[in-house]
Amino acid sequence: MAAGLKTIISLSFVLAIGFLLVILSCALFKQYLPLLVVATYVLAPLPNWICGRCANPDDFVESAGNAVVDFGRFCTGFLVLMGIALPVVLAHSMLITYTAMVMSIIGGVLIYGTIISFGMFFQEEQEF
């Protein structure tokens, strides 16, 4: 119980740092496009989750269920790389500076890592 509480506190701490970095990368340069990174990473686990609910993973005879799960994974992979690629695209065309790019990428990775670890902890608790 104490370990779980510690994890939640540290995870929320990391999440706050991630949001701080992304918002700072926007506010320091008065250019609010990097906020899209947050939207991308919040959306990223969604296709995986929806398709996981749609399909029945225990059904090994019918592979159509697996195709839906695969589609969800494909979309998640797309969105995760989008979170990194978006600031790079913006920085390459000088819409944001390279400092803002690095800050928003690090912040985005922290945010997404937090979301993923939260999901893993919840899954572990569901099993037992």
């Binding site: 090994f60 592979s63 697996n66 695969d70 994974r73 494909f74 979309c75 998640t76 992979g77 797309f78 969105l79 995760v80 790389l81 989008m82 690629a85 978006l86 790079v88 695209v89 913006l90 390459h92 065309s93 000088m94 819409l95």
Partner: protein, 173 residues
């Protein structure tokens, strides 16, 4: 099973695990995203103030066309049920499903290769022949890279979908 094998080298064991399979699907999505954003980067670059090409060259619908064809080919190739392809002797060939699957698969591969060829064509005709120099040449190079990325992505997706059969086979036994 082992007598049907054609190649000397066996598929390594770790490739049959579920983890490697889902990692392959994630990687395919990431590769597709990478190629899409390469071309998007070229489009954003072409309308930013950095694009100093003279006379001005912009990304138009022509530049997107190869990527559209590549993506269409990828969609076709990976929508086909792979088990229908190997059924040449019995049950499926009666209604000609294997034959149909091969025709559709051929269309998909043709579309993919056509997209790649189109990317090279756009690079040569629109950028190399008029003599565009480097910052502008990126728009053509990104086109080729994007189509190559879609191709790689569909290869990765194909391989990781073929893993599935072995995996479920092992589980069923």
């Amino acid at each position: 099973m082992s007598e049907e094998r054609l190649w000397k080298f066996k598929k390594p064991e770790w490739m049959n695990s579920a983890v490697a399979r889902s990692a392959g699907v994630y990687a395919a999505g990431a590769l597709f995203s990478l190629s899409f954003f390469l071309l998007l980067d070229a489009a954003v670059f072409s309308h930013s103030k950095l694009n100093g090409s003279d006379p001005p060259i912009h990304i138009a619908f022509i530049d997107w066309l190869p990527l559209i064809f590549s993506s269409l080919g990828m969609l076709i190739i990976n929508s086909i049920e792979k088990t229908r392809l190997s059924a040449d002797s019995f049950s499926y060939s009666g209604s000609g499903v294997a034959w149909k699957a091969r025709v559709v698969l051929f269309l998909g591969f043709a579309s993919l290769a056509g997209g790649m060829a189109g990317g090279v064509t756009v690079l040569v005709l629109k950028y190399v022949v008029p003599g565009v120099v480097w910052p502008g040449l990126w728009m053509g190079v990104a086109n080729v890279l994007a189509n190559g990325g879609v191709m790689m992505s569909s290869v990765v997706l194909w391989v990781s979908q073929n893993m599935e059969d072995e995996y479920s086979y092992n589980l069923a036994l």
